[in-house]
């Protein structure tokens, strides 16, 4: 029917990556400071250095993980349905028809708000449907919500 027009995957906002990196940096810094203070109080500068290096390595690992996860996440608004893909280890692709939407939810946690981001979530009657798009800037989130709501109303289908 819809002769699949070349649909572009929309990546998540770059700001989300910044937010994740900041989170990692802050947590890493706090951990490093605590570990170094304890080690210095015990009188062992080598241990302090070691712990800082270990925290830095963990941070790098976390960065790598978050980066891959960020790159794997994307969504795509097609004529009749919304496609969301995500996951690195377990890769998931959800196709949710607009007509099946029960409601759209926008959430923004405190950290997300600090970076001006929001998460849009599409709910259907099936609990397993899993269409969540994090890290959208509020304008895009509102646009998506309105578009989904309008499409959902136009194409609504009973259970």
């Amino acid at each position: 029917m819809t002769s699949a027009a070349p649909t572009a995957w929309i990546p998540l906002s770059r700001t989300l990556m910044k937010m994740r990196v900041t989170e990692i940096a802050v947590v890493g810094a706090v951990l490093a400071v605590i570990a170094a203070t304890i080690a210095l109080a015990e009188g062992s500068p080598v241990a302090a250095l070691g712990s800082v290096v270990a925290v830095a390595l963990c941070g790098a690992g976390a960065w790598w993980f978050v980066h891959n996860r960020f790159r794997a996440w994307g969504y795509c608004e097609r004529d009749e349905d919304l496609e969301v893909r995500r996951g690195v280890m377990v890769q998931r692709l959800s196709v949710v028809p607009y007509g099946r939407m029960q409601f759209v939810e926008i959430t923004a946690g405190p950290v997300e708000r600090l970076f001006g981001l929001a998460t849009v979530r599409l709910h259907t009657a099936a609990a397993a449907s899993d269409a969540r798009i994090p890290g959208l800037d509020p304008h895009e989130a509102a646009r998506l919500r309105d578009r989904l709501a309008a499409l959902g109303e136009a194409k609504a289908a009973g259970l």
């Binding site: 998931r92 009657a125 397993a128 289908a157």
Partner: protein, 505 residues
């Protein structure tokens, strides 16, 4: 009494015996407790006796008050129920929104010839009850509600049903006994006997805990037997009628239009008898519950039966189409060494079918009209093997067909195909809904009108004499059954016509 704004004629009370049944349930254990405590306390201590009497009197008074303040009226379009002494609660149930009317009689109610009417309305959180009415009143009210709901005259008697299947008690008992839990108990007992030959002391120690376990299992067996005794399925115009129960009887209607998925379950032990169980998932109340989406109700369509019976019922519910099944590739052997044996899936433009399980073979049919979303999931092992699983989700928690371990290219194609088919199916249904009545919209008819349907012949049921019955193909309201086969005579809203019989004569 407050809140009597307008006058509605024809208010009726519940049956005067209903307080007895209402309090009766709590009364029996109370009496037993009271008896036990008086025996224990000896015959002198009368003060405790008064406490028990007080509790019973309180229960009865409460029941009588409830009876006194509850009333109902049916004016042909709305059923009104008013109840409550302190907080007046008035419910108005528009007939057009009624989804199902169930008749339930607990044991005590049955002895007194009473029944409870449960009315499920679209959009309501829970069923509305009228407990208790005398059986003729309840049956009559149900017939009137259903007749009005289907736009028939209220004087039309309750439409005849076509018996479709019945579960003989012997088979039910056999199926319950052949379940995994009873088997576990048997193994346990045998182990105990063996143990007792070795050491009696150890055996008696284990026997104590075993007794509790056995009691639990016995209770479970009894419950299933009691609930599904004389399980009878019949086809009616408003759905599938199920009657069941030994001590307390239930007569319920499963609206075929709300069926989300059909499952056929064949446990290991049942397979040697060729038995299976057929279940349907119904959509719950849409829009309630934030995280869980809408709830789901699973109902047995056939607790245990032959494959032919299950096939017939399945065709009534989801149509006669049989999508071709295909097996996953050999590589899936490594991912699912045990369940590979049964693993298969297939779809056509209206239905998705998936078979999974090893010990318990589960076949799941999902009409694509009902698909809520389609997902492809690929875990690390699957990626290494070039496999992926495709899910077709329907309303409810963890319900749907799973196309397990298909090759990636096929999975990608499946996602697109299933999405396109479900879109197409939805569109056809909404077009049909715009043209016809609301009932047509609700009914998922994936099959074309001329598609063949099995005649209800090979079923262990008392076959009905000639008459008008609900069209098993559901393309018309009624179809004439001449006693041996379906004829071409059909009837819709009182207008008779001719439509070639869907079944081979």
């Amino acid at each position: 009494m407050t809140g009597e704004g307008r006058t509605v004629v024809g208010w009726q009370r519940l049956n005067p015996l209903s307080p007895v049944v209402r309090s009766g349930r709590g009364l029996v254990p109370l009496l037993v407790l009271a008896g036990l405590s008086t025996i224990h306390a000896g015959h002198r201590d009368t003060s405790e006796y008064y406490i028990w009497v007080g509790i019973i009197v309180f229960g009865v008074v409460f029941g009588v008050i409830h009876w006194f303040v509850t009333r109902w009226a049916f004016d042909g379009a709305t059923l009104r129920i008013e109840t409550g002494l302190v907080r007046r609660d008035s419910q108005q149930l528009p007939v057009a929104r009624i989804q199902a009317v169930d008749l339930v009689s607990p044991f005590l109610a049955r002895l007194l010839g009473l029944a409870e009417l449960r009315i499920r309305v679209a959009g309501a959180k829970s069923a509305n009850h009228l407990a208790y009415l005398s059986l003729p009143v309840a049956t009559d009210l149900r017939a009137r509600l259903l007749a009005t709901h289907h736009g028939l005259d209220q004087s039309v008697p309750e439409p005849d049903e076509l018996p479709a299947a019945m579960v003989p008690p012997g088979r039910l008992l056999g199926s319950v006994l052949l379940s995994a839990s009873t088997l576990g108990a048997a193994v346990f007992v045998v182990a105990l006997v063996v143990l007792s030959t070795v050491s009696t002391a150890a055996a008696t120690a284990v026997a104590g805990s075993l007794l509790v376990y056995l009691l639990g299992i016995g209770q479970g067996i009894w419950r299933r037997f009691n609930e599904q005794y004389r399980f009878t399925v019949a086809l009616a115009p408003d759905g599938i009628r199920v009657r069941r129960g030994l001590l307390s009887t239930v007569s319920e209607t499963i609206p075929t239009g709300r069926v989300q998925a059909v499952r056929q379950i064949e446990p290991l032990l049942w397979r040697m008898f060729g038995w299976c169980r057929l279940e349907v998932d119904l959509a719950g109340v849409p829009g309630h519950g934030r995280s869980g989406g809408s709830g789901r109700v699973t109902k047995a369509l056939l607790p245990v039966g032959s494959h032919e019976s299950a096939l017939y019922l399945r065709r009534v519910v989801i149509g006669p189409v049989e999508p071709p099944l295909s097996r996953p590739s050999e590589r899936a052997h490594l991912k699912a060494p045990f369940s590979y044996h049964f693993l298969a899936a297939g779809h056509d433009d209206a239905l998705a079918v998936a078979v999974t399980g090893r010990v318990q073979k589960v076949t799941c049919w999902v009409p694509l009209v009902k698909a809520q979303s389609i997902r492809k999931v690929q875990g690390p092992v699957q990626r290494a093997l070039g496999l992926a699983t495709v899910h077709v989700d329907v309303a409810g928690k963890r319900v749907g067909a799973k196309f397990r371990d298909r090759p990636v290219e096929e999975a990608d194609r499946l996602v697109e195909e299933l999405a396109a088919h479900s879109r197409g199916a939805r569109r056809t249904v909404s077009l049909a809904g715009a043209g016809g009545g609301a009932d047509h919209r609700a009914a998922p008819r994936p099959a074309g009108p001329g598609a063949p349907l099995l005649p209800p012949a090979p079923i262990e049921a008392p076959v009905m004499g000639p008459g008008w019955f609900a069209d098993p193909a559901r393309s018309h309201q009624w179809r004439y059954w001449d006693g041996t086969a379906w004829t071409e005579h059909v009837s819709d809203d009182g207008v008779t016509g001719v439509d070639p019989s869907p079944s081979p004569r």
